[in-house]
Amino acid sequence: MKMINKIVIMVMIAIIATTSFIAYQKITLQQEKEISLNGAGATFPFPLIDKWIAEYRKVNSKVLINYQPIGSGGGIRAHMEKTVHFAASDAPLSDVQFRNATGTLHIPITIGGVVSIYNLPGISIYLNFTGEVLSKIFLGEIRRWNDPSIKAINPGVNLPDKEIIVVHRSDGSGTTFVWTSYLSAVSNEWRETVGKGTSVNWPIGIGAKGNEGVAAFVQQTPYSIGYVEFAYAKKNNLLYGRIQNAAGEFIEPNIEAFMKAAATFAITLPKGDENWSNVSIIDSIVNNKEAKGAYPITSFSYILVYKELSILPNINEDTAKELVYFLWWIIHDGQNYATSLYYVPLPKEIVKHDEETIKMMTFNGRQIYRG
């Protein structure tokens, strides 16, 4: 190779190397000034949390927050492995999980409802369902739409003599957790044979991926029935079922009905740093005849954090402070963004409860929240 070519190449390499080095220094420096918070967890609150993150940056541009919608299970795992600053989950920690992740605080951040959706050609009204009927459908014991037990609660409706096509979630999800919690609460048979969880061994039915998969399936498949988060039913203009609550009313799912369910329940919440494995709006109102207007399949969505933040690797006091203030903002200003996204804002009793929980957060023993 000619000498001049060799020189040119060496000079080019030198330029590329220097510029990369300078860029690297700049970015590392920028990163050291910047505070970043990482969260992961449930997909259900993802649009809302994303909104909060974007809006909060306008309030406080020092913090760069990132949330990964990997699912409730993933969030819990990340929390237990201490790889995130905060985790989101539609289910509280189980007994075993709580014992292994000592010092966890549960902070409800929003409320959601799971609805049953169906597709019946010729029928454009909201059908009535009871928990018992739903569990029998999903167990495969009620196989046809014109089954006497369905007709009994929907008098005057011309139900077709067609087989019910059941669809459930193929991927693990908090939505499934809520739905199966409800079925476990209303049906002994369900509780004993299938149980509740983010992923269960479904007796019958086709698996669709994600809330959107279930919604799409029901939309395109006549005589099908499934379950989704409320927003998906609303946005796809799907028909949803009115579910009977303990007071005997058939409740149409909407924000007020969800709020009524949550409000009835707020009285009995454990303290933020206690064991929440038995906390379940569903379980508490399923037999509560006083819960008027409450929609039975309602649940909290939580953020999980550790009480003493210094136990997280790579955290300093500034980061801890930003986390606390972000959480404070979420339960106050953040709630204003809920309804437009079909989420339920926290009733004020729960906001107060969360405030107490957030005040429990410490760094090296010192309380972080200063008002």
């Binding site: 649009p47 974007a54 760069l64 990997i70 994600g210």
Partner: protein
């Protein structure tokens, strides 16, 4: 009409002529349908904001994919920087020096690697790199590079193998050292096919969302460092396309359209640069 062998052969020829064009039609129809849907649904997303602004939140009127485009380009670029040289050089080695047991083993491993699902490669990259960087661009590019390598290796090797030995022999007869023969002569002849292989690999990885989800995840900001995640078009499509929120759905289809156009662009530009060797 007597069925002579001539006539039978001619009939077979005509029939196969027809069948072959038929397969072309069958093969093109579904992807055309896909493109049609993407254009139909993605078209309304396109406006100036789409290219200037960053990821919107739900219900936010203005928003765009500027950061996703930046992120995708950086990710693919970094992955190619790792994957293409390794792939091409491996392909060269296998075709030029590849008559021994060692090469057979390498070919074998390459084929197996090709069949590993992208999500497993993603999980692998994450377990390897996350102790250092957590969810990061580096982790994602590393996973994508691993996906690229078997494709590039395979197509490079096949392309080089089809260059007649005659050429290599002629060069050696002229006294050119073997390595120069390979780099300057043989490679040039197969350049077009090798480029095809590289473009195929790039097209493949730009549409992968599963490994991105596991190594990097969702990011709504601009590039903030190699050890941070970065926005990604394919992942955004995956996350937004079926969300119940209108503006996200439209954004997803728009992203799909842009992603495909981006690949088209890479293809066109490379073809133009290579025009000499047509």
């Amino acid at each position: 009409m007597k069925m002579t062998t001539q006539k039978i052969r001619k009939i077979k020829d005509i029939v196969m002529h027809f069948m072959i064009y038929l397969t072309l039609l069958i093969a093109i129809l579904p992807p055309f349908s896909v493109m049609f849907e993407v254009i139909k649904r993605g078209f309304m997303a396109i406006d100036l904001d789409f290219f200037i602004k960053t990821t919107p939140t739900v219900g936010e009127a203005k928003g765009g994919i500027a950061n996703a485009i930046q992120g995708t380009l950086i990710t693919i670029g970094l992955a190619s920087l790792i994957g293409v040289p390794i792939g091409v050089i491996s392909g060269i080695f296998l075709s030029e020096y590849g008559e021994n047991k060692f090469s057979t083993i390498i070919r074998f491993f390459n084929e197996v690697l090709n069949g590993v699902p992208s999500i497993i490669i993603g999980i692998f990259s994450y377990t390897l790199i996350s102790p250092i960087t957590g969810f990061s661009l580096i982790s994602a590019s590393f996973a994508l590079a691993i996906i690229m390598i078997p494709i590039v290796t395979r197509t490079t090797e096949e392309a080089l193998k089809l260059i007649p030995t005659m050429i290599r022999e002629a060069a050696i007869a002229l006294g050119i050292p073997r390595w120069k023969t390979i780099l300057h002569i043989v490679l040039k002849g197969a350049k077009k096919s090798i480029i095809t292989g590289i473009l195929l690999a790039i097209a493949r990885i730009s549409g992968e969302s599963a490994p991105i989800l596991v190594t990097m995840g969702y990011w709504r900001w601009w590039f903030h460092g190699l050890n941070r995640p970065v926005a990604n078009l394919a992942l955004n499509i995956f996350l937004f396309a079926n969300s119940p929120f209108e503006n996200w759905v439209i954004l997803a289809w728009g992203s799909a359209l842009i992603l495909i156009l981006m690949i088209l662009g890479i293809n066109i530009i490379t073809r133009m640069l290579m025009r000499g060797s047509f």
